[in-house]
């Protein structure tokens, strides 16, 4: 009885699934589905010092990237999960961190009146936000809120390469693209970028000329160099423990591998007595 009911239920579900299939296949065959996929490009593969299982930070690059963030990105993008004290992890000395923190202006309270005011940053402060709230951020940016950058490289597929590629991916749409996808033309206040999934974004090209940021270590600040450096910096902000994680992984894996080999020998030894003897053919 239970099997008869089961067979009926099974046939029922299979039948409805197959009707769905037939109807779907018929629709697919008779109606041409509009191709809504824009042919945006996947990020270029950029080489970074922290790539791969043995990756380490390039402190010079992180410091350069920090400078790009400070002088370019921070005008619109916050970095709310990162504290100024964390700059000590980029190879700055304690005094340098203090001096660097003081170059940021953070919200404070006037000690005499209690009114809201501003003061120079301390290492214990977090990176200040460029806009007081989302409404102000949207109003200043053509109704688009610039995302917080703390986690941006983890919040996008292939994030580090994506950031580096996006910053260098601004170019006018090709004619072939517009012929096939007229909707790919940038609307008012939008900028065409081949790496952005809908190909037009509200962020104006932030890196516009070589030498826009003056690097302290003499590295030539080409647009590509600045994009790569800031992508490296934002990888650090997204996961400051990335290198520590990889460096911890090796001793753990070696330990477990050693333990597993021992477990294998103990297993074979214990089982030797009851395993059937292999007979010679």
């Amino acid at each position: 009885m239970i099997r008869i009911i089961a067979i009926l239920v099974g046939l029922g579900f299979a039948f409805v699934a197959l009707i769905s299939f037939v109807v779907g296949a018929y629709t697919a065959a008779t109606e041409e589905a509009p191709d809504t996929h824009l042919p945006y490009e996947h990020p270029q593969d950029v080489n970074f010092s922290f790539d791969g299982p043995f990756g380490t930070w390039d402190y010079g690059q992180l410091q350069r990237g920090y400078k790009v963030y400070k002088e370019v990105c921070s005008a619109c993008h916050s970095l709310k999960f990162v504290a100024l004290r964390n700059l000590g992890e980029l190879g700055y000395t304690e005094a340098q961190v203090k001096a660097e923190a003081a170059t940021w202006t953070v919200p404070g309270i006037d000690p005499n009146t209690g009114e809201a005011s501003t003061r120079p940053g301390e290492p214990t402060d977090y990176f200040p936000k460029p806009y007081p709230n989302n409404v102000a951020a949207a109003a200043a940016n053509n109704n688009a809120i610039p995302p917080d950058l703390s986690l941006i490289t983890k919040a996008r597929a292939d994030g580090t390469n994506y950031v580096a590629s996006l910053l260098t991916g601004y170019r006018p749409p090709s004619e072939e693209l517009l012929a096939e996808h007229p909707e790919a033309a940038p609307g008012p206040g939008l900028y065409h970028n081949v790496y952005f999934p809908n190909m037009n974004l509200a962020m104006a090209p932030p890196l516009t000329s070589n030498g826009q940021v003056t690097y302290d270590d003499g590295t030539e600040a080409t647009i590509g160099q600045m994009a790569t450096d800031v992508a490296a910096f934002l990888t650090w902000t997204a996961e400051p423990t990335l290198v520590k994680r990889k460096q911890t992984g090796w001793p753990v894996l070696i330990f477990v591998l050693f333990a597993t080999i021992l477990a294998w020998f103990s297993k074979t030894q214990i089982w030797a007595a009851v395993k059937p003897k292999k007979t010679k053919a």
Binding site: G10, A14, A17, L18, V23, G24, A155, G159, T241, V252
Partner: protein, 430 residues
């Protein structure tokens, strides 16, 4: 119960004698996973996965309790406390990555454990209760994992919660009130986050309770084995300790190598980038996908696209729940007297060339966007999935002619069973 030749626990010193008299925990352990539990001598590595699942349950509880010490279940700070754990808590990143990947590994080993059960028909008498409790554990795991994924309060957390609780909205008449009652509001917010956290903390201990019953039920008939022939004599078994503790120890080492490789080198590979964006009720992600371990059932949910008498959405919800609930009936659907797929030629073909490819397709399509050809592929795979369990298994078990079984486990391992020849085994062959 145990086999008559099982070794008996003997307390050796004053402390163990005292304990054995007052609270015989050492005796319990000895009989459960010690030398007092005789186990078939021919178990393959597929029999490691129960112990491994138990290990990952404990790992999830330990890492989860530590994470709960630092996490705050409040929609305004949940995302920030998760980042606080990742950045400021000593080894917090390790705890969180171990917990997130631990969930994935828990599901990997449990899926292998379940499919081991399918192939060797481990659900058949006398082990029906073990199977039923196992399905309960799987359902509880899915509920726990779903609620855990909501806690970081990222975009996929929020929208996943919205989509999954929205399924209850498909129930006629009472659907929407139920959805509002489950969420404590009209959309996922603080009320939902708080209760999900509470239940996410509770359910693992419920799972632990059901696991204890699962193991208890296992110890009554004893473990199954790859031949499916029941244990007949002492030469068919070895004591669990040291034989299977040693074998499980090696299996645990192998799975830990894979686990730590993921945790330390690819910790976000199984996650979704969108969950590193804070939840935003005003911005829908381009593709809402659940965690990978829900993909087959998510594919079944989305496979029903045609309003046949009932609305398509309701068919999808019914299909998704039926896809798991029907496992409860398997012991009574499969009437073949032979357990192991090794001796069932027709069943074996349907398993390897039907069920496994269908599951692979469902896995793949569940993670893919709801577009063609993925929808059509998942529709065919869904139809096969239901036919396999509810139609093919009952019919095959009736019409199939099984291959000859070995007389005993000893014969299967050693090529002959001398005691059998001598007529010492009095129990009839299965």
């Amino acid at each position: 119960m145990s086999f008559p030749w099982a070794k008996q626990y003997e307390p050796t010193n004053g402390l163990t004698k005292f304990l054995d008299e007052k609270l015989p925990v050492p005796r319990l352990v000895y009989n459960a996973v010690g030398a007092g539990y005789p186990v078939p001598r021919n178990l393959s590595y597929f029999w490691n996965f129960g112990v491994l699942a138990g290990f990952f349950l404990m790992l999830q509880i330990v890492t989860g309790v530590v994470l709960a010490m630092h996490y705050a279940a409040n929609a305004s700070v949940a995302f920030a406390t998760t980042e606080h754990i990742m950045r400021d808590i000593n080894w917090g990143w390790l705890m969180r990555y171990a917990h997130a990947n631990g969930a994935s590994f828990f599901f990997i080993v449990v899926y292998i454990h379940i499919f081991r059960g399918f192939f060797y028909s481990s659900y058949k008498a006398p082990r029906e209760m073990i199977w039923l409790l196992g399905v309960v554990i799987f359902l509880l795991m899915m509920a726990t994992a779903f609620m855990g994924y909501v806690l970081p309060w990222g975009q996929m957390s929020f929208w996943g919660a919205k989509v999954i609780t929205g399924l209850f909205g498909a129930i006629p008449l009472v659907g929407e009130p139920i959805q509002v009652w489950l969420l404590g509001g009209f959309a996922p917010d603080n009320a939902a986050l708080n209760r999900f956290f509470s239940l996410h903390f509770l359910l693992p201990f419920v799972i632990m309770g059901v696991v204890i019953m699962h193991i208890w039920a296992l110890h009554i008939p004893g473990s199954s084995n790859p031949t499916g022939v029941e244990v007949k004599s002492e030469s068919d078994t070895v004591p669990f300790h040291p034989y299977y503790t040693a074998k499980d120890g090696f299996g645990l080492g192998v799975i830990l190598l894979l686990f730590f490789a993921m945790v330390f080198f690819l910790p976000n590979y199984l996650g979704h980038p969108d969950n590193y964006i804070e939840a935003n009720p005003l911005s829908t992600p381009a593709h809402i996908v659940p965690e990978w371990y829900f993909w087959p059932f998510y594919a079944i949910l989305r496979a029903f696209t045609f309003d046949f008498i009932l609305p398509a959405k309701l068919w999808g919800v019914l299909g998704m729940f039926a896809a798991i609930l029907m496992w409860f009936f398997l012991p009574w659907l499969d009437k073949s007297p032979v357990r192991s797929g090794h001796y069932r030629p027709l069943f074996r073909k349907f398993f390897w060339f039907g069920l496994i490819p269908a599951m692979a397709v469902l896995f793949y399509c569940g993670g893919a966007p709801a577009e063609e050809p993925f929808v059509m592929l998942s529709q065919i795979a869904t139809a096969y999935y239901f036919l396999h369990f509810l139609v093919i298994i009952p019919i095959v078990s009736q019409v199939e002619k099984p291959e000859p079984l070995p007389y005993s486990i000893t014969e299967a391992v050693l090529g002959s069973d001398k005691k059998a020849v001598l007529g010492e085994n009095t129990e009839p062959a299965v």
